[in-house]
Symmetry: C2
Amino acid sequence: MTSYHDITDALSGLLSPGKVTADREILEAYARDETSDLSAMPDILVRAESVEDVRAVMEFCNTHGLPVIPRGAGTGVTGGAVPVRGGVVLSLEKMNRIIEIDRENMVAVVEPGAITRDIQDAARAEGLMYPPDPASLDSCSIGGNVAENAGGPRAVRYGTTRDYVLGLEFVLADGSVITTGGKFVKNATGYNLSGILIGSEGTLAVVTKIVLRLVPAPLFTFDMLLPFPSLVEAMNVVYGILLNRVVPATIEFMERDAIDLAAKFLEREMPFPDAGAHLLIQVDGNHEQAVFNDLDAIGKLSCADPDTIIIAQSPEQRERLWKARRSIRDAIKKFYPVFLAEDCVVPRSRIPEFMSDLKNYLETKDLRSVMFGHAGDGNVHIDVLKGDMEYEAWTQGLPELKREIYRRAIALGGTITGEHGIGFIRKDYLSLALSRDEIELLKRIKKAFDPKGILNPGKIF
Amino acid sequence: MTSYHDITDALSGLLSPGKVTADREILEAYARDETSDLSAMPDILVRAESVEDVRAVMEFCNTHGLPVIPRGAGTGVTGGAVPVRGGVVLSLEKMNRIIEIDRENMVAVVEPGAITRDIQDAARAEGLMYPPDPASLDSCSIGGNVAENAGGPRAVRYGTTRDYVLGLEFVLADGSVITTGGKFVKNATGYNLSGILIGSEGTLAVVTKIVLRLVPAPLFTFDMLLPFPSLVEAMNVVYGILLNRVVPATIEFMERDAIDLAAKFLEREMPFPDAGAHLLIQVDGNHEQAVFNDLDAIGKLSCADPDTIIIAQSPEQRERLWKARRSIRDAIKKFYPVFLAEDCVVPRSRIPEFMSDLKNYLETKDLRSVMFGHAGDGNVHIDVLKGDMEYEAWTQGLPELKREIYRRAIALGGTITGEHGIGFIRKDYLSLALSRDEIELLKRIKKAFDPKGILNPGKIF
């Protein structure tokens, strides 16, 4: 094959018509994901409709040494789906069926392009719940969730994507189709391939089917918003809650700057405008009195005046509270279109130290930041805003800025990223978190799955 | 090195005295684990006391191409710790410290030789719980639990070992020491190495430190025993319970034969001696009334006469109920010392079909069996007894017997083993469950970790 024109023709011949295109107007939409300030044009787009399509594309591209970039809904924020070296973008968006909700075994069988919210809704219709809830759940796909091990606020109580994947069907670089696991929780038959595939950012295999564990949907869910003078005081209450045997579904924190931005974006006043920090806590369960007891315990532990606690009981009230939390990122995008979005993780006892140290550092650089995230699991979202800084100065300063953020998280026993992955934009920093021996091991594992290195090249390493 | 005598001397020189021995009387105890009818003498025993010891042994053995068999407490039942090809048994039994119970972050940091029960007790003393509860929890070590991804009855609600490992320190075949994860739940920094190491049966690396997630210990725990005319009726109640949003901590079933054997072994009468099957259900929670409601719902769903339900409230009553369940294996060992212990898994909706089909098959072979296990998660323990059969006929029949059992589990959407692993005794059957492409992939992964193949050779593959 000498040109991408020939390759397009060959792929079109292998798959049924309409699944392969090199039309630059269509390709444009596949040049980026939701990563700030990053794009690269693919050479060819394949929209697979079946595992057989995926198999054929992989076998062909492996034979000819062509890069393949698997793509879900393109909602990633570290450039995982961006074809930084060109090649074939393999979109799974049309493989979006929810094949089965099996009530008796409490599992869902889905295709990778299924939207996470649609899976949640389908489960809910059967009295079941799929707990992981990344902020982008209305638009992200479950295949992307698997590729990134997506989490979300509910991880405190319910864990991340990893805790719900019981089985996978996937295609290796050479086109072999492998299934692992199934509709059962326990499995000790050979190595746990799901364990290494989840979070591998499309570099090891293309997932074509997913068996998900579901849980009974809780009958009662309440959300409460609590104001605190400062983040330190809010976090002390978080430790108290968990040590008092209350495990809320979510414990989100938002610092003052995040609240102000959300208010400006939504053009409405926020409750408790003078607070230094808010906690947004969700409690759920099947026994109403037990849930009330938890709410009561949280109120007491927070030492708050009962008038300064908002409890949402209706879906509308709940939506209002969560809308503010979920619109922080959109507010940043609108008012500060160039920004750095980090999602470091530290042991949750170190969150206040991490944040105050980081704030001090950012102030010395005259940089404004917005911090919010998951107090219960130590995952801190840090959005640093370019603001009025010159673009060139900003770009030149980014490497040092990232390094200083990651270094601080690692020094406190944490690591670079909790949910978003390494992708393209963080790969130069992997050696801050992982030893040379570990990176060499990861590369050998990559080679075991993809000897020619055609799958999502230029990512992670 | 020409002889194991020289090797012993060289290893003794590398480690401090007393850690290395080739004394055959001592070695005897390391020739077997709890696998029926299997033993093989090691050439050398090293009892490591630190990660540095492990590092030195691995580097030396890798250089000289010597087999290393990592060993925890030796409670495995598939020959995972048996040195079938001789070599160096590397015992972690002395690395048994519980380094830290960190209340604020709710984690335990432990060495691999720590006994699972001791970790549970240490957690409980801080108001926390380590949920996985393999039947051997009084004697098995956490390192072995990690190697096998041990489960136990509580997996229905709480999952298996995998769901609690947040971080690992491990030593590769070449002596590199790698740490992965830490005191945090979310991590998207490079591939999830814990994911593939857990359940790898000592073939990929030697784990030297483990960071475990703990959960708040529930305040209320009740156990109930329910009789049913048959397993099918018992299982229908299990589905009803789970679909009614009650998620007990355990749902164990015992068929009549298992109950009779336990009664004989314990020399006491069992309740409901005429029942075809028992369910042993544990319900826990922090709100007494919510737990009572669950008990009540289970009682109603079982359609049982309230007089035929036993509810244990005191630790003594609870111990009495569980003693029967936990002594089934010991009873079998005592009365039928030669037996085949399988632990297939099927989707839980297929348990009755799987068991009745298997019973029919075993009857045609004049073989008696005892079945019990985890109704909530589809993991069925099948112990087939040699009984009066001639030893030679028994041994000759084993391959076909195993194949028939595994084939049935796989045909129903299940797999060979849920908890015990492949180890040595099942490796010839791996290709029943996994495709040739998958086995080739597993072998490439093995090579990525252990290029010379010195770690636990002859296992899994």
